[in-house]
C-alpha cells in the first residue's frame, strides 16, 4: 500500500501540470509589437496613428496613382510623347477589373482597419500619470478623419456619385477589423459613416493640433501633414458638396475660411509648391524619400517630370486652352525644348530635397478649394455672394474679377486651380456632366465621349476582392 501511495503522488505531480498547461503554452512575441501591446498604451496608439498616414503616400494612393488617374480620365492630362505606357489604360478608360485601382482598394481598407483598431481600443487605453484623456481623443479624431477620407476616396472611385443614385452600390463600411465577407453598403450609408466620423473628429480634435504634434510627435517636419479639426471641417465641406447639401457645404467651408489660412497670391503662387505647410494648406500628404511607403521611381513628381523623370503624362490642349495668358498658374507647366507643343505640369510637383523630384507634398485640402466650394454652394442657394468667393481666387491668379459667375465659370476655375490634385473626374461625376474629349495625338484608344449616366463612372471592384469575397457584388457593366 505504501508503494501505491507513492505512485499516486508521482501521478498527481505529473498530471497536475495539465491544469497549468495553457499558461505554460502562452508565449507571446515579446519583441514584436503585438496588437494588444500597441493598442493598450497612449504611446503605442500614438505610433499606430502615425502609421495611418504612411498609407496615403503609397504609389497606389496619393503618392501617385490616385491624383494622376483622376486628372488623366478627366481630360486634364493625356499620355505624353514620352510615355512608356504607364497609366495608358486609365487614359483609355479601359476599366478591367483585373487591373484597375486594386492597389487603392487594398491601401484604403488597410487604413480603415488600422484606424478602426485605434478607435475601438481607445476606451480601454491605459494612461500613465500625466497623460490625458484629451490626448486619446485627439488620436481617435485623427483615426476617424483617416477612416472618413479612406471611405470617401473608395466611394468616389468605386461607386456612382451620391448626387446620381444615393441608394446604389457603395463600398463596404468597415468599422471593426475582422476577416469577413462583407457585402457592399449603399452610397448613402457610406456617406453617413463618413459624416459621422467627421462629426466626431471635429468634436474630438485638440484645439491646437500643432501644439499637440509638437508635444507628442517630436521630430515632426510638417504639422500640416497630420490632420486637424480644420482638416475635418474642410473634408466635411467637400463631402457635403458631393452630396449636393449646399447650405452645409457653405457652412463648413466658411469655418475653414475663417480659421486664419491665407490664399496664395499671384506673387507667391509658384512658391507654394515644393514647400512644407504653405499658407493655403489645411492638410497635405507629407512627401519624403524617408517615408515608409515612399513610391520611389513611381512617385508623382517623377512621373510628371519630362526631363530626367518618366514624363509619361502631360496636359491636354483642352486643359491648356482654359488659361488666359496672364494666369500665373501657367507657371506649373514645362515645355521642354525638344518637345515643343507639349506641356508637363511638373512645377506643381517640383520635389523638395530629392534631385529626382520624388519627394512631393500632395495637397489634399486647401483654402482655395473652400472658396470654390462656397462659391458653388452660394450659386446653388447658400447665402452669400458666389462672385466674391470666385473672384477671391481669380484676382489672386492674375485674372480679372467677373460679376455674375455661372456654374461653368466655377467648374473651369476648379479645373485650373485644383488641376493635377485629384479632383476633376469626380467633379464631372457629381455634377452629372458628360465628358467630351479629343484624341489629340493619336494615342487614345478609348472612348472620346463618356456620357452621364454611364456604368463607367464607377470603377469595377478589383478582381482579387471579387474572388475572395462571395458577398461582393460587381458594379453593373463589368
Amino acid at each position: 500500500m505504501k508503494n501505491t501511495s507513492k505512485f499516486l503522488i508521482v501521478f498527481l505531480i505529473v498530471f497536475g501540470m495539465t491544469a497549468c498547461g495553457d499558461d505554460f503554452l502562452d508565449r507571446p512575441p515579446i519583441l514584436e509589437e503585438s496588437r494588444e501591446l500597441v493598442l493598450q498604451s497612449f504611446t503605442g496608439m500614438n505610433n499606430a496613428t502615425i502609421g495611418l498616414y504612411a498609407e496615403f503616400y503609397h504609389s497606389a494612393w496619393y503618392g501617385a496613382a490616385f491624383p494622376i488617374i483622376t486628372d488623366l480620365k478627366g481630360d486634364n492630362s493625356k499620355s505624353s510623347p514620352l510615355s512608356s505606357g504607364r497609366y495608358q489604360q486609365n487614359y483609355n478608360w479601359n476599366q478591367d477589373p483585373s487591373q484597375t485601382m486594386g492597389g487603392l482598394w487594398f491601401r484604403a481598407y488597410r487604413a480603415i482597419t488600422s484606424a478602426s483598431n485605434i478607435i475601438n481600443a481607445a476606451p480601454d487605453v491605459d494612461l500613465l500619470p500625466g497623460q490625458q484623456e484629451a490626448w486619446v481623443d485627439h488620436l481617435v479624431a485623427e483615426a476617424k478623419f483617416v477612416r472618413a477620407l479612406a471611405h470617401f476616396d473608395l466611394v468616389r472611385v468605386f461607386a456612382q456619385p451620391y448626387t446620381y443614385q444615393p441608394n446604389s452600390l457603395g463600398v463596404p463600411v468597415i468599422t471593426v477589423t475582422r476577416i469577413g465577407t462583407p457585402a457592399r453598403n449603399t452610397v448613402a450609408e457610406v456617406y453617413e459613416q463618413i459624416e459621422s466620423d467627421l462629426t466626431d473628429a471635429i468634436a474630438m480634435f485638440s484645439e491646437n493640433a500643432t501644439a499637440f504634434y509638437n508635444t507628442h510627435r517630436s521630430g515632426t517636419v510638417n504639422p500640416k501633414g497630420f490632420s486637424s479639426r480644420d482638416a475635418a471641417r474642410a473634408l466635411m465641406a467637400r463631402v457635403k458638396l458631393y452630396k449636393g447639401d449646399y447650405a452645409a457645404a457653405a457652412q463648413y467651408a466658411t469655418q475653414v475660411i475663417d480659421a486664419g489660412y491665407t490664399l496664395y497670391t499671384a506673387d507667391n503662387w509658384m512658391d507654394a509648391w515644393g514647400t512644407d505647410g504653405a499658407s493655403e494648406i489645411v492638410f497635405e500628404i507629407f512627401g519624403s524619400t524617408g517615408n515608409g511607403n515612399w513610391p520611389s521611381w513611381e512617385e508623382i513628381g517623377y512621373l510628371y517630370h519630362p526631363g530626367g523623370g518618366y514624363g509619361d503624362v502631360c496636359a491636354t490642349n483642352a486643359h491648356l486652352a482654359l488659361y488666359e495668358p496672364s494666369d500665373v498658374r501657367l507657371g506649373i507647366f514645362v515645355e521642354p525644348a525638344n518637345q515643343q507643343g507639349f506641356f508637363w505640369p511638373s512645377n506643381k510637383y517640383p520635389g523638395k530635397n530629392d534631385p529626382n523630384k520624388r519627394d512631393n507634398n500632395i495637397p489634399v485640402l486647401r483654402l482655395s478649394e473652400m472658396y470654390l466650394i462656397r462659391a458653388e454652394a452660394r450659386l446653388n442657394g447658400a447665402t452669400g455672394s458666389a462672385a466674391d468667393d470666385l473672384n477671391a481666387i481669380r484676382t489672386r491668379r492674375g485674372l480679372d474679377a467677373i460679376s455674375n459667375p455661372t456654374m461653368d465659370d466655377i467648374f473651369d476655375e476648379r479645373r485650373r486651380e485644383l488641376a493635377f490634385e485629384g479632383h476633376i473626374l469626380f467633379d464631372y461625376a457629381r455634377l452629372g456632366r458628360t465628358l467630351e474629349r479629343e484624341d489629340e495625338d493619336n494615342r487614345l484608344t478609348g472612348p472620346t465621349t463618356i456620357p452621364f449616366p454611364s456604368h463607367l463612372w464607377a470603377m469595377p471592384i478589383p478582381i482579387g476582392e471579387m474572388e475572395a469575397n462571395p458577398n461582393m457584388e460587381q458594379n453593373p457593366g463589368y
Binding site: F15, R35, N469
Partner: protein
C-alpha cells in the same frame, strides 16, 4: 610523432593497470541443427570491442578476463552469451531459428526486440558510422537507410544537411525530421550568425554514437505526436555496462580533402578566354584593335596601346615580345585541406556503476581558403544503481567549436569561389611592389585574397546537452522514470571588414559581433509496466508526460570607422554604432501512452496516442491528439512453417496512424504591428504587420505502411515496404477579402501525397575464411500535390511551381531550343511550338522536378583474417538541378569582362554548325543566358563512390605481449569518385536543386589507427 609515442605509452600504462585477470579461452562453434562447425562466427567479449572470428574449422581463441561474458554472433543464428566462469575451453552450439530477432533496438520511449516491431524502423549501427570522416553525424546516414534522402547543402565542414524521410511533406511548414539524442529531442539547424557552418548536430562526436534508429512510419513515430510527421531520428550514445572491466580506446586519424572534379568542369585559360572575347568583339561588328574597352586597356593590359590585336594569343608573351604574367586564381581559392582527429574514450562498470567517457578533437579545414571547423567534444554517460529499486544516471555532452568562413554560397565578389571564376588570368593579385592589386575589373575590383588575409568571419559555439534521470522499479515489471534535460548553445561571432582587406584607400573598418544563446529544457516522465500472463500474453503499457520550453536570444552590435590598431567595438563612437536584440520562445506540453500486446511471439499489436499542446498555435486549435495502430504476424513461428527450414524469419506488418507537423513560424498565430513601412513626416509609427490567426493548426500526416521482413538461408535478410503518406490540412496562403486590411491569410487547406516502396537487402556468407557482407537499399518515392486550396499553381522561388497533379515542385522554365545552325543565335519555342529567337516570346514549360525518384546505397564488406575492405556507393536518380550562376558563367558574351566556363568554347562559328552554345557577342543581349531558361536545367542523377575503407587488425598473438587488446590501422577515401552529368564540380546540392556557387563536396583521404587496451 614523438608526442604520439608518449601518448601511446601512457595509454599502455593505463591499460595494463585497468585490465583484470586475463585468460585465454579457446573452443569450437557448431550449428545446433546438424552439428557442423561454423566458420566466421564473431566472438566478442561483452562490453568491449575485443573480438575475433572462428576459423575454417569453427575454432576460435580469445583473451578474456575470467569473469567475462563471451558473445557469439553469426548472421542467421541466434546470438548466444556465455559466462567464461574461469573456463579456458568453451564450445558453443548456435540455434538457427532466431535470426537476429533477439536484437534490441531503441524506439520511441523505450527499447523493443526487433521481432516485436510493428512499425517501420531502420537501425544504423556503429560499424556504419565509423569509417567516414565527418563533423556532422547525420551525414553518415546518407545512402544507408531506404527512404531517407539526405542532401548536403554544402561541402563545408560543419554545414547542415537536409533530411527527407519518405518524401516532402509540406510547402509552408518544415519537412525535416525530429532528432532525439538519448531520449531528449534536440534542436537542429544552423544558429550561427556569420557562418554557414553552425549545424548543431556537428557538436555531436560520431565516435560517441552506438546506433541511430530511424522511425519512418506512423506506428513507429506517432508517439512523438505533433513533431513526428517527417519521421524521427533517434541517436543513442555509448554507455558502459555493469561488471565490464575498464576499457580504453584511442583513435587517431589524419588526412586531407581536395575539390572533387570528376567531370573536368573548368573555366577558360588565358589563351582561351582571350580568343573567345576577341571573337565576341568581331561578332559584334567591331574591330578588335579599336574596340573601346581594349583601347582603354581595362580588360586586356598588354594588348592595346595602339597595337594590333593578335589573332592568336601568343602564349606567355604579348606582341612586343614582353612576357605576360598570368595567375591561377582557382588555385588561390581552393586548397588541399588538412584534416586531423583524435579520440580517446574509456568505459566500464562495477556491479552498481557503469560509465562511458570520451574526449574528441577534430580539426577539419575547408577546401576553400580561410574556412574550417575545429571542435573539442567531451561526453560522460554514467549509470548508478542505488539499492534494489532505484537507478540514477546522467548524460553530459559538452563541446566547443570554432568555425571560420568567408562570404559564401552566393555571388559575392569576395567569395573566393565566385571571384576565382570571374577573374581573368592576366589580372594579377599583387602589384609590383608586393601590395594587393585592387584594379581587378573582371571581379568588380575586389581582391578576395586580400579579404581572406585580413577580414574575419568566424563563430565560436559552446554547447552542452545534459540530462539526469532517475528510475524507480518498485515491483517487478513496473518502471517509473523521470528524465530532465537542458540543452544550451552559446555562440559568439565576429565579422570584421578590415581596411586592408578589400577597401583600398580607407583607413578604418567595419565590425559586427554577435552573441546568441539557445536554451531548451525538457522533462519527460513515464510509467511503464510490463507483464506476461500465462506465458503467452505479453503486455506493456506506458503512460507519460513531457513538457518542453525552447528559447533563443541574440545580441548584435555593429560599428563603423574602427581603426586597425584596436579592431574592437569599444573603438566605435556612439554615432557610428548600433545594437539590436532578438528573442523567441515556444513551448510544448504533451501526454502520451503506448500499449503493446503480443501473443506467443506470433501476433503483435501496438497502439500509441499523444495529446500535444503547442504555443505556436492559436488558442482555438492549440491542442490536438495523434495516434497510431500497428500489427504484425511472425509467420516463422507458426507450426505450418516448420517444413520450410530455409525460412529463418518471415514477418508481415501493417500500420496506420496520424501525426502532426508543428514546423511553422514560432509567432505565426499572433497579430502584430511593426515599424516597417510606417515612417512618415520625419517620425516613425507602426502599422499592422500580421493579422491574428487563432485558427492556425497542425498539418496532419496520415500514413499507411505495410511491410514484410524476412531472413532466409541463414544469410539473406531484408525487408520490403510500401507506404502511403498524405499530408492534410496543409498550410497555404489564401486570398481573403481586403476589407480585413490584409490580402492573404494562412489556413490549413492543402493536401499532398507521398507514396513509395522501399527495399533493403543484405547477404552475409563465408567463402573459406573470407567473410562477405553485401548490402543495399533503394527507396522510390512519388510525391503528388492533390489540392492547393483551390489554386492550380503556386510559385516556388526561382522558376519552379507547385501544381496540382505535379510532383512536389516542378521546374517551370523558358523553353530553350538550342542554337540556330544558320546564324548562331539562340532559339526558343513559343506558345505555338514554333521556333523564335526572342526570349520574351518563349513559352514556359514544366520540365523536370527537384526531388529524386529513386535513391539509396549499396556496398560490401569483405573480411579476411585481419584485413577488411569496405566499399559503399550512394545514388540519387530522377531529379533535376538548376545551375543558377550559369547565367553569368556561360553568358555568350553578356558577362563579357569576366572569365567564362570552358564549355562555351564549343560555340557557333559558321553557318551549319550544330553546337550547344551561341555565337558570342560583346554584352550579348540575344537572350541565350536569360533567367530561368531550360538551357541551364540539368539532370542531377549521380552515383557516388562514397566510402572506400581498407583496414588491417593486427594479429592478436602479436599484441598479447604488449597487453594490447586490439590494434587496427585503416585508410579511407570518402567521395572517391562520382559519376554525374552536372555542370559543376560536384552534383550534390540542397533539396531545392538551385543555389548560387555551392560550396562543393570534397574528396577526403585519411589514414588512422585504433588501439584498444
Amino acid at each position: 610523432m614523438k608526442k604520439f609515442f608518449i601518448v601511446c605509452g601512457f595509454l599502455l600504462f593505463l591499460g595494463s593497470t585497468l585490465l583484470g585477470q586475463q585468460i585465454r579461452v579457446t573452443g569450437t562453434v557448431t550449428d545446433a541443427s546438424d552439428g557442423s562447425t561454423l566458420p566466421g562466427v564473431t566472438v566478442a567479449v561483452r562490453g568491449t570491442t575485443q573480438g575475433t572470428v572462428t576459423d575454417m574449422d569453427g575454432r576460435y581463441e580469445i583473451a578474456a578476463s575470467s569473469d567475462a561474458v563471451l558473445v557469439f554472433t553469426f548472421i542467421g543464428m541466434a546470438t548466444r552469451e556465455v559466462n567464461v566462469g574461469g573456463r579456458s575451453v568453451i564450445d558453443v552450439a548456435l540455434q538457427s531459428d532466431m535470426v537476429g530477432l533477439e536484437e534490441v533496438v531503441v524506439v520511441g520511449y523505450g527499447v523493443q526486440r526487433r521481432e516485436a516491431a510493428t512499425g517501420s524502423v531502420t537501425v544504423v549501427g556503429e560499424q556504419d558510422l565509423r569509417n567516414m570522416p565527418t563533423a556532422s553525424p547525420e551525414r553518415l546516414l546518407q545512402g544507408k537507410v531506404a527512404g531517407l534522402q539526405l542532401n548536403a547543402t554544402t561541402g563545408q565542414p560543419g554545414a547542415r544537411s537536409q533530411v527527407r524521410i519518405r518524401g516532402f511533406s509540406s510547402i509552408n511548414a518544415s519537412s525535416e525530421p525530429l532528432y532525439v539524442v538519448d531520449g531528449v529531442p534536440i534542436v537542429v539547424g544552423d544558429f550561427n550568425v556569420f557562418t554557414s557552418t553552425g549545424n548543431t548536430l556537428a557538436n555531436l562526436n560520431p565516435g560517441d554514437i552506438e546506433s541511430i534508429t530511424v522511425l519512418k512510419d506512423a506506428a513507429a513515430a506517432s508517439v512523438y505526436g505533433s513533431r513526428a510527421a517527417n519521421g524521427v531520428i533517434l541517436i543513442t550514445t555509448k554507455r558502459g555496462r555493469a561488471g565490464q572491466p575498464a576499457r580504453v580506446n584511442f583513435r587517431a586519424r589524419t588526412g586531407f580533402s581536395e575539390r572533387a572534379n570528376d567531370n573536368d568542369y573548368r573555366f577558360m585559360n588565358a589563351q582561351e578566354i582571350y580568343g573567345y572575347n576577341r571573337q565576341a568583339i568581331i561578332n559584334s561588328g567591331f574591330d578588335p584593335e579599336t574596340y573601346g574597352p581594349i583601347a582603354s586597356g581595362a580588360l586586356f593590359p598588354g594588348f592595346y596601346a595602339g597595337e594590333t590585336m593578335p589573332t592568336v594569343y601568343p602564349a606567355g608573351h604579348d606582341r612586343a615580345g614582353q612576357p605576360i604574367e598570368t595567375f591561377d586564381w582557382e588555385d588561390a581559392a581552393f586548397r588541399q585541406a588538412q584534416f586531423r582527429e583524435y579520440e580517446f574514450n574509456v568505459s566500464g562498470g562495477t556491479e552498481n556503476t557503469s560509465y562511458f567517457s570520451s574526449l574528441n578533437y577534430t580539426n577539419q579545414e575547408g577546401i576553400m581558403i580561410a574556412t574550417g571547423l575545429e571542435r573539442i567534444s567531451f561526453r560522460s554517460n554514467i549509470d548508478q544503481r542505488v539499492g534494489n529499486m532505484f537507478k540514477v544516471g546522467s548524460n553530459i555532452n559538452a563541446s566547443y567549436s570554432f568555425m571560420e568562413d568567408r562570404p559564401n554560397q552566393s555571388m559575392f565578389f569576395v567569395n573566393p569561389f565566385w571571384a576565382s571564376i570571374n577573374l581573368l588570368p592576366w589580372h594579377l593579385p599583387y602589384n609590383e611592389d608586393g601590395s594587393y592589386n585592387f584594379t581587378l575589373p573582371s571581379n568588380s575590383n575586389a581582391n578576395f585574397i586580400a579579404a581572406a588575409d585580413h577580414d574575419d568571419q568566424w563563430e565560436r559555439q559552446y554547447r552542452v546537452l545534459g540530462s539526469v534521470f532517475g528510475e524507480l522499479t518498485p515491483i517487478e515489471g513496473l518502471t517509473i522514470r523521470s528524465q530532465n534535460s537542458i540543452e544550451l548553445i552559446n555562440g559568439e561571432g565576429r565579422r570584421w571588414w578590415s581596411p586592408l582587406g578589400d577597401r583600398p584607400g580607407t583607413e578604418s573598418g567595419t565590425l559586427q559581433i554577435s552573441n546568441t544563446r539557445l536554451e531548451r529544457y525538457t522533462t519527460t516522465n513515464t510509467i511503464n509496466y510490463m507483464t506476461t500472463v500465462a506465458g503467452v500474453h505479453y503486455l506493456r503499457a506506458l503512460v507519460g508526460q513531457e513538457a518542453f520550453v525552447h528559447n533563443w536570444n541574440y545580441h548584435y552590435a555593429y560599428g563603423t570607422n574602427i581603426g586597425l590598431e584596436i579592431p574592437h567595438l569599444n573603438r566605435a563612437t556612439q554615432e557610428d554604432s548600433r545594437v539590436s536584440y532578438s528573442f523567441n520562445e515556444y513551448s510544448l506540453m504533451s501526454f502520451f501512452g503506448i500499449l503493446d500486446y503480443n501473443f506467443d511471439d506470433r501476433y503483435f499489436a501496438q497502439f500509441s496516442i499523444r495529446n500535444d499542446g503547442n504555443s505556436r498555435f492559436g488558442a482555438d486549435n492549440r491542442w490536438a491528439t495523434f495516434w497510431s495502430v500497428g500489427g504484425s504476424w511472425n509467420l516463422h513461428r507458426e507450426q505450418f512453417m516448420n517444413d520450410f527450414d530455409f525460412v529463418n524469419m518471415l514477418k508481415l506488418r501493417a500500420s496506420y496512424g496520424i501525426n502532426g507537423n508543428d514546423g511553422i513560424g514560432i509567432y505565426d498565430q499572433w497579430g502584430t504591428y511593426s515599424s516597417a513601412g510606417s515612417a512618415y513626416n520625419g517620425i516613425t509609427g507602426v502599422n499592422p504587420s500580421r493579422i491574428p490567426n487563432s485558427t492556425l493548426t497542425w498539418e496532419l500526416n496520415r500514413t499507411y505502411n505495410i511491410g514484410v521482413d524476412f531472413a532466409l538461408f541463414r544469410g539473406l535478410q531484408g525487408s520490403l515496404e510500401y507506404y502511403h503518406r498524405s499530408t492534410e490540412e496543409m498550410l497555404l496562403s489564401r486570398p481573403i477579402s481586403q476589407t480585413s486590411g490584409a490580402a492573404s491569410f494562412r489556413i490549413n487547406i492543402g493536401e499532398l501525397v507521398n507514396q513509395g516502396y522501399e527495399a533493403t537487402l543484405s547477404y552475409n556468407t563465408n567463402v573459406g575464411d573470407v567473410n562477405i557482407n553485401l548490402r543495399g537499399n533503394a527507396g522510390r518515392n512519388n510525391v503528388e500535390i492533390i489540392d492547393l486550396g483551390g489554386e492550380e499553381e503556386i510559385g516556388d522561388g526561382f522558376w519552379r511551381r507547385f501544381r496540382v497533379g505535379g510532383g512536389y515542385s516542378d521546374y517551370y522554365v523558358y523553353d530553350w531550343a538550342g542554337v540556330n545552325p544558320a546564324n548562331g543565335q539562340s532559339l526558343y519555342f513559343n506558345e505555338d511550338g514554333d521556333l523564335t529567337p526572342s526570349y520574351s516570346q518563349a513559352r514556359r514549360v514544366f520540365d523536370g522536378k527537384m526531388e529524386p525518384n529513386i535513391f539509396g546505397g549499396f556496398g560490401w564488406d569483405v573480411n579476411w583474417r585481419g584485413f577488411g575492405l569496405t566499399m559503399f556507393f550512394e545514388y540519387k536518380l530522377g531529379h533535376y538541378v538548376y545551375i543558377m550562376e550559369s547565367r553569368y558563367t556561360r553568358s555568350d558574351g553578356f558577362n563579357w569582362g569576366s572569365n567564362q566556363n570552358a564549355q562555351l568554347l564549343d560555340y557557333w562559328k559558321q553557318p551549319g554548325d550544330v553546337v550547344p552554345n551561341p555565337r558570342p557577342m560583346v554584352n550579348n543581349s540575344m537572350g541565350a543566358n536569360e533567367w530561368g531558361t531550360s538551357r541551364f536545367l540539368e539532370r542531377g542523377d549521380y552515383l557516388r563512390f562514397k566510402d572506400l575503407t581498407l583496414s588491417y587488425s593486427l594479429p592478436r598473438n602479436l599484441l598479447q605481449n604488449a597487453r594490447i587488446d586490439n590494434a587496427r590501422v585503416f585508410f579511407n577515401a570518402a567521395n572517391l569518385y562520382t559519376w554525374h552529368d552536372v555542370s559543376y564540380w560536384d552534383p550534390e546540392r540542397d533539396v531545392t536543386g538551385g543555389g548560387y556557387i555551392i560550396f562543393p563536396l570534397a574528396k577526403t583521404f585519411s589514414f588512422g589507427v585504433e588501439l584498444g587496451l
